[in-house]
Symmetry: C2
Subunit: 201 residues, 2 copies
Amino acid sequence: MVKKLLKDDHPVNKKKILKAAIEVFSKKGYQRTTIREISTKSGLSIGTIYFHFENKEEILKEVLKNTELIAMSSVMEQIDSMEPYDIIKKINREITKNMAANFETLLLLINTSKDNPKFNSFFYEQFRSKTGEIAELIKELIKRGSIRKVNPENAAIFLIGNVFTMVILKENILKKNLENTYYEEMNEFIMDMLKNGFFKK
Amino acid sequence: MVKKLLKDDHPVNKKKILKAAIEVFSKKGYQRTTIREISTKSGLSIGTIYFHFENKEEILKEVLKNTELIAMSSVMEQIDSMEPYDIIKKINREITKNMAANFETLLLLINTSKDNPKFNSFFYEQFRSKTGEIAELIKELIKRGSIRKVNPENAAIFLIGNVFTMVILKENILKKNLENTYYEEMNEFIMDMLKNGFFKK
DNA sequence: ATTATATTAGAACTTATGTTTTAATAATTC
DNA sequence: GAATTATTAAAACATAAGTTCTAATATAAT
């Protein structure tokens, strides 16, 4: 019944379990997700789940392996032909889109990483890797002379941070009270801040 | 044994329970906190806890009543005599200090508010109230002519949001990997962004 | 074909935790 | 000071959820 597994790949039912787990984790978070729910959602029994995974935490780990919280791959390829303002704007847009899509996992990690060193490390690595990428980009733009000589790491954190806040606010706190255009509007605002500052000259 | 309770006040042991609850909730979050821990911490029995509170959620509600996540009272009194740059800087500092102090409750609310409309409302109200206050202040500064004509609500969200991110990053994700001077350094960076922008003119 | 191995199902087990119950003790009222 | 009410303690209850166990079934090997 079960198809032969490819090397370095998951057996069919393991995939089913992971797919179901992603859905339920994303919707309810790690703590509130039960094995029974994953079982129902995947159409497989509890026994099968525990055959493929040692325990609940291992399922989450496997899910996280395939999750990229902060992504902006498509930006990096085009930066040579773009204006700095547009690069930053595009980065903002890309990160926003991706974070909003992975918002539930983001929350999940914020929660679990507090007490669980492993998940904290995962979070830390991903965050550092992305701020690192953006910092490199900013260094490059500073070299080109188009951006003020700011601390690139802080700038990267600042940029990602703005998006982070937007997403948490929109998806978690203010929810339906915000318009669908919120991300666009807020990103416009941020770009305006970056371009013109806050105070009058 | 129990002292006469003052009107509109809590009996002594109810206070003890609340005090213990704040400690444990703050340290472990709502979900992971057990009644038995609150019992041990307060030195009172489970029965006593359930005498004073209907259930666990009611304890949290009572705790939240006394929590101000975003506070900046001391700023508002002095704004007439201050420069706009210093006002914003001071607001940043105040909010940072307070958010960092209430960080655990902040996380707690982020988690619970996702599924619980009541806690979401609580969060929403506090957030709106504070962004409202800051927005009013910004309106005033725009009137005075010291700040560019930006959208005051967005500006308020932007300011609070920057702090929010800093606190989550420092306290939850990057933890000990960050220096103690992180808040100061990052606030300096933010102020520099607000003053001089990101791009070269 | 027979045997061995891998996989699956789902009932059963275990433990943790919110809540209820009941009896004892303290405080208050008359 | 007796009776009533308020408060406390802690054991008992109920339930939910992670995990284990065992028998059945499918797949692979010889």
